[in-house]
Symmetry: none
Subunit: 195 residues, 4 copies
């Protein structure tokens, strides 16, 4: 007699186990056996629910991206004015759920892999474009288009850099990263008329 409604539970278990393994052991050392053991299921089940290892990895990256998106749109919905929107984006990107050592390490692994796995590359592009578009829109309300574009470019790079920094330093410090990013924003806004 088959247990009903197991699908969403199993999928979540497996995705969590995958992110954990990628974060802890790296992309190359993440095997289906390791994932299935961590999730407490048999290796065969992965193919039952995801079709294969690659699809599971894609789902895991998608899950990370979705979490990030939620952190950002949650803060954006409460933000009042363009400056607050910039803060919301920065804060969302360095939210605790995203800034745990393991999650950050997993991100780095997915980024590296995204260069060679088209599907992961697409996910990463979507994320990138969304960040850039959000930043440009907010900056656009504070200055002229060309300046806004370059400010967005700079801030996006800084956010990525702070994240990478955190991934490599093994001691991610969300608060300090936020502070640096905010200083950058202030710095950019100083030359403009609008506060």
């Amino acid at each position: 007699m088959p247990k009903l409604g197991m699908e969403p539970i199993r999928r979540r278990q497996l995705i969590a186990a995958t992110i954990s393994s990628v974060g802890r052991y790296g992309y190359g050392e993440t095997t289906v056996l390791r994932i299935s053991k961590a999730a407490g299921v048999s290796p065969g089940i992965i193919h039952h629910y995801f079709g294969g290892k690659d699809e599971l990895l894609e789902a895991a990256m998608r899950s990370l991206l979705e979490q990030l998106r939620q952190e950002v749109i949650g803060r954006l919905s409460k933000a009042d004015g363009p400056r607050a929107r910039l803060s919301a984006i920065v804060d969302g990107n360095f939210a605790s759920s995203q800034f745990e050592p393991q999650a950050v390490a997993a991100w780095l692994a997915f980024w590296a892999e995204a260069r060679h796995a088209p599907k992961l590359g697409r996910l990463q592009q979507i994320n990138r474009r969304r960040l850039h578009s959000n930043l440009r829109q907010a900056f656009g309300l504070l200055g002229e288009a060309e300046w806004a574009d370059r400010a967005a470019e700079g801030l996006a790079a800084l956010i990525d850099g702070l994240w990478l920094h955190a991934a490599l330093a093994r001691a991610p410090d969300g608060a300090e990263a936020c502070a640096i990013a905010h200083r950058f924003i202030d710095c950019e806004l100083e030359g403009t008329d609008r506060p």
Copy 2:
């Protein structure tokens, strides 16, 4: 007597082939067969000259680091004054030799791997510390210690971020990255007394 002095030649060939493969296909897809084919030699020769795949990969990362170091110290030796030193560091990091798509991609792969391979991690730490120390020293000549430290932190993160950005964007633009970094420096220096 056999052909003598092949060792340095073979080592260079194999290291170049390794960087190329890591850049093009990723760390996980870089096999000894692929490397040896790219270098036009037999797979066995890798173990003859490097002892194993891991040692070759380490040598390749070391080679990338050394190239970067040369770009920076070459510019630093000609730099006059702290502001020029900062420029030298930024320019060195975005020098053409380091900013080619493949080299940047290889960097990203090595970074991701450095989290799990202790030897690579050590190399990466050395690089990180050198950059930070260079930046802090230069900023230190332009303002008080605490400010200099944070400025160095920020600029280091920005440099990494711009590089990561380049790695992911597939169209690295050294000039624009430089411009953003220089703007960041100017921005930081505005609040200080020394020009």
Copy 3:
């Protein structure tokens, strides 16, 4: 549910195939491919059940030792008196199950290997000590301690020698080996008072 309880079956198959291969082709020429083909399974299964080639070889030697032990203790349990115990030990060592050309050849290969593979060496030591202790105990009931010890030493060497002889002669003759060993025992007992 998959086929259950295959583990003991597979383990026995693989151990038998290993002993056969070591006996027929020697230790150095015993490859996982050869073993797996002889057992009618794929090479990968060896690692599934034993973890690796070395562990399988160890299990095979352990199996040979256990067979020998059974032959001896089976006979010892029925033996009445010290002289009968000596006969039981000798007969057990030259029992048909142990004295087939292939088994004897495998023994020789394991012995040679035991000198350099610590795990095999340990197994071989245990066997050696057990034989010696059994012999010494039986001889001890028939004469003084010092004499018993030397008699045990001599008989143990003779048993090993007859076995080695058999291994090298390619035509092991258990009956004749037994006869020689029994003569040796009689010879040793002649000088003592107890019959």
Copy 4:
């Protein structure tokens, strides 16, 4: 300008290195690289002087056999009477040159290999037959043919057994082995008329 007369020197060096390696590391772990390093020459030279690894190993075993033969015939030439001849054979087999741990270990390795390498098998057969024929001849002068044959068989087995014992015990004791063998001879001779 080629150095003349190097051949016998090189051959001896390489044979000694081979026996040493086989004794220390075992047959399977004896590689041409290891041998050539131990002999202080290049790997290629082995093929120059011996044609290949197998031929070198054969020459090494042949060298061990020849040494043993010399030990025995040297003693036999001085032996007076059949009983002295038996002692000469036993003593020759346990002579110090042959009873060093490494030499004994090498012997064991060659014996095991002789079962599968025809050339080594032939060498080993020659040795075996020579020993047996020597023993039978000596015993033949002390009793009837059938008894002599079985006594020779027994003593040959005992000699092999004591040797094997030594090889496995890692602490070869030539003197004690001799004592046991002599006791065996005395034991056999007790029933006969001639002392």
